[in-house]
Symmetry: D2
Subunit: 352 residues, 4 copies
């Protein structure tokens, strides 16, 4: 068997870090060589996530302590907070230009420097890299990703919305100014940093929307939807919090163009994803549940008639930590390192 590729994970003490470790520990072609977590440096991964205590893993170190030039890493996953990411990756890729990077933050998803500056309120700190970065929605940009050095892993909400909508926008099958995306997320999407609003007793036994009308994920959606439609697209998008750990679930309301009905929209999606290993389109009229993709890298999509003539309802669901983050990151890695795309991420969902 070929030698294993050497992998690093920056920011291993968060949930996406833990999910990367879960998936990579059993990936047959790679070896985890580096785990960083600034505040937990010196500790074992099993101190931060006890499920890993029985496994042999490198101790957590600070990013500062890493000598990139000699580290010899083939690929680095970056799960750091916004902004820090830009500085760190500039440093990594300067000192170790042959290392490949999958970045899980939002920092390299926007391709237009002006758009970045508008949404984030400052100029990008690594403009050259921003230009180089490839948007990592594998089902759409597979060819570019295979050749990329730096891939910007898409967001969880946006992956879930793009997979059903992009083919329809490209086919000009739906009206682009009547798209409503009512999105729901599990709580791990909010991360592991303590905040009152994600305490158990604030989240359980209830439901709410947040960031109504001004959610940051919008920028990424605007970019990709407009590209697909060939004109500016602005959608209605409302994120909600569900008292569950994992899952993104999007209920999408669309109106067909030129009398396209739900069946015809279904046919487009069905054809598009026939051979994709990680997108499954249910039989027409059947709708997926988030729990049936839990822990897997799958996206399940359903299409049905709406009661309103001329409209259809599309439901799309995935696991925010897997296909919505770390699973898709490994899928990107597989493409970048020339492995079969499903390697290490083909386990079925865990339900119940």
């Amino acid at each position: 068997m070929a030698e294993k590729k050497k992998i690093g994970i920056l920011g291993a003490s968060g949930y996406t870090g833990a999910e990367l470790v879960r998936l990579l520990l059993r990936h047959p072609r790679v070896q985890i060589e580096l785990l960083t977590a600034d505040r937990r440096a010196g500790q074992a991964m099993g101190d931060v996530f006890p499920q890993f205590a029985p496994y042999d893993l490198p101790r957590l170190v600070t990013i500062e302590s890493v000598d990139w030039a000699t580290a010899g890493l083939d690929l680095v996953f970056c799960a750091l907070p916004h902004a820090t990411t830009q500085t760190v990756l500039k440093d990594v890729l300067t000192k170790a230009p042959a290392t490949k990077v999958v970045d899980l933050s939002a920092d390299f998803r926007l391709q237009d420097p002006a758009a970045y500056a508008k949404w984030y309120g400052h100029e990008h700190h690594a403009l050259e890299l921003q230009k180089e970065a490839v948007y990592g929605l594998v089902e759409m940009y597979r060819r570019d990703i295979r050749k990329a050095r730096l891939v910007a892993n898409p967001g969880c909400y946006t992956t879930c919305a793009q997979l059903p909508l992009i083919p329809l926008l490209k086919a000009k099958a739906i009206k682009s100014d009547e798209i409503v995306i009512d999105a729901k997320s599990g709580v791990t999407g909010a991360g592991r940093s303590p905040r009152e609003d994600i305490l158990f007793s604030e989240v359980s036994e209830g439901f709410h929307a947040y960031g109504v009308g001004h959610h940051r994920h919008m920028a990424e959606l605007d970019q990709e939807f407009s590209k697909a439609a060939g004109k500016e697209v602005v959608v209605s998008f409302t994120p909600h919090l569900v008292p569950m750990n994992r899952g993104i679930f999007s209920t999408i309301y669309v109106r067909g163009r030129r009398d396209k009905n739900a069946q015809e929209l279904y046919a487009i999606l069905s054809r598009q994803y026939e051979k994709e290993p990680f997108v499954y389109v249910l039989p027409f009229g059947r709708m997926p549940q988030s729990r049936h993709v839990r822990g897997s890298n799958m996206t399940f999509i359903g299409v049905a008639n709406d009661r309103q003539p001329g409209r259809a309802i599309i439901i799309s669901t995935l696991d925010n930590l897997t296909k919505g983050a770390s699973g898709q990151a490994v899928q990107n890695m597989n493409a970048m390192l020339g492995f079969a795309e499903t390697t290490g991420i083909d386990q079925p969902a865990m339900f119940p």
Copy 2:
């Protein structure tokens, strides 16, 4: 103090029955005299709902065993399943015509016999009573309810959607063919009868839609919305199940007519509900959470700008067992028996 009114509850072993008992046990003007539950007849209420074991309540009996003519009940709540309800209430009101009734089923909500036949596949079994029944959305039909003998308590989903939308439709402030209601419900809405799809392990840690495109609550919404708008209204409506016990949460997407913006829609709702004890409109741009109405008879409503120009997002939430069922039923009872409308149902929500 005036003598207490005598109350009966038909179908006391379900969740709406338990919620009625919870509210009525501390209602200062009434006394529970009769509790029926056919399959649990002979048992104490505390055997069926142990929280009531310490309280003095009549034993459960079968409906058959009740002698309506001599029972002397002032008002009966009917929480029986669909269809049974019609036969039972015909019998009750024939033998005890002075008794008042609040029916919690859907059986008397449709006022048009043809609509009933179309949605339920058979003619109504109590056509005279159907004609007599008053639709019990107190905030809209208070005057009629005060004089009614038979009130049809609205459904939980429909109450939650009507309170924000009816004033806007009446004011012709929104386009009636672009209304999208993305509704979410807690699991108690599905009742207490064992079914695989509402087992704990099927519902927890996940999210899903059900009945997409053909939900029965539609009939009631169509009726009331069309009445309010003065023309036929058909809305998009998708119900979802949230892993929580109580709560209805509706995210409603609307487009203003004649350039009405979100602020103007807000003003209409704000004015409408200023003096209503059970509807609270939050400051503009703030959105409610279902947990903050849990166990109370309140509906909380929020209005915000949508990203799409010309559109607004409205969120409405209530507790499906309280304002969405038994609390509203007691509110109806209070109106029918001449009590202050808030009597016995003015406790604040229980959060956390």
Copy 3:
């Protein structure tokens, strides 16, 4: 009707503060006049707990800003953190010596200054008050409480364990060195301050013990159990966290003395609590569930035979925010102000 008593709540932004407001808003004999919350001062209670937005309540102020001498409060509930409490209450009772106090912290529960110093690592900051304080387990110390100025409201775990065990220890019916208390708590018991270990995603879908072998509640249990038994009693006690908001549930394993069997233990408890409004002993062999006391001030107790000859299993459950904190605090207030003990806290549990 008599004039309403004036009430203050110190520390109103935590869960026990919210529970006090929930209960007192509908208490017929009192009026909330003061709410403090240092970090939220200036805000409305409805900003901190949106369920109270529709109600008329005083704005939150800092403790510092209160002029105790002129505030004219009849009774103050103190829901402040450990240590702060001692300083604040010394100040309050010096400046307003006629004000009564129910303290919900652990600061005044230990009566022996040495025991306090041992468990908390420093001398008590208000030794005079420590001497004056009455332990507020109403079912045991009702007479003293009626005359008290300062009552130390018992902890939730300890209330749940004392109610079943103290009568048995007093009757010398069980072996005091073989008591095992396996206790489980809902997450609200951990408070509202952000901490990683009580985030939703850390708590849901799992179960764990904490503080095994060295939990601080021990001191209070040791004190009261030893007093009841007339000799030093040290019990095994393990607290666990349940993914639920409210509830304490204690499974208690005991061995009878002198061949006392489970039935005889049951008889002692049954007799003891026959007339207590807030303790309900189930029929022998039936066991309570935490959900059936949720939101009420009840404690439910069950007794059954163990498989091991000579041993019995006792289960005791209450709502940690109600009987385990704020409900019991109101019960204490009722006793101290001469109201009927059940006033304002007699609502049945909310299940489901």
Copy 4:
């Protein structure tokens, strides 16, 4: 690579059936050839468990329709209800005597015909097979299992209690008449058949014990503990239900014999499991959480001092569907078919 072994699963529509499919779909040495589910016969596995819709699996058939003699199965997992199991397996092993069987029911766990008759109220229907069956706790009976044709997979509660206690009983390190096992289970342990008491709204937001004093798992524990201790052992055991899907968590209270303290008990367990791939003993004084073994085949064990002198607290946790059922069944299969014991079941836990 060697040819894959042919596997059948009887009773594939329950949770343990789904968990077997999840694990076997990615097991490199076996192929699922047969899935039975009497009531769902004719349907695809993806109709019963939608997470499997994208995978290629045999359709569900009735047991009756299988021709065992020609089926050519190497091994059959039997996940049928109690009693049915005995009749079916007698038939299978008569017609296909070379097929191996791992039975997940309780039917073959008791080795003494008299004990079986006492606990189940009737004579065993397959006495010869009962004699032949090997008890499948791999860590204890590995050698016998490797040669066995019929293995009785242990129960989830009992696996969780035996792994920590059997080494201590064998070493005569604890008093056998003072063992208290306070056990907690996730809801999947109750199966998928609709019952009121496991509906979401009956289970969420609460905690309770069940079967206090007379739980059937006792028989299996009595058998194995008595065998280990060399004398009759009867333990206190109370099962509880936790509002979570997966997990068994046992808090075990023991008293050391001849002054054995907690550290010495720890040393025994630590030594015993040093090389076991699926049992991990935490550092002394640290306690495991059920969520950290979720979806994995691991058992985590912690030992700490009790406050009561001479006593220790041991906590043991596993996933009831994996190590407590289907994972352990695959572990047994691996041993019986000569595969490395960890094949296909070595994935880390999924947390969060």
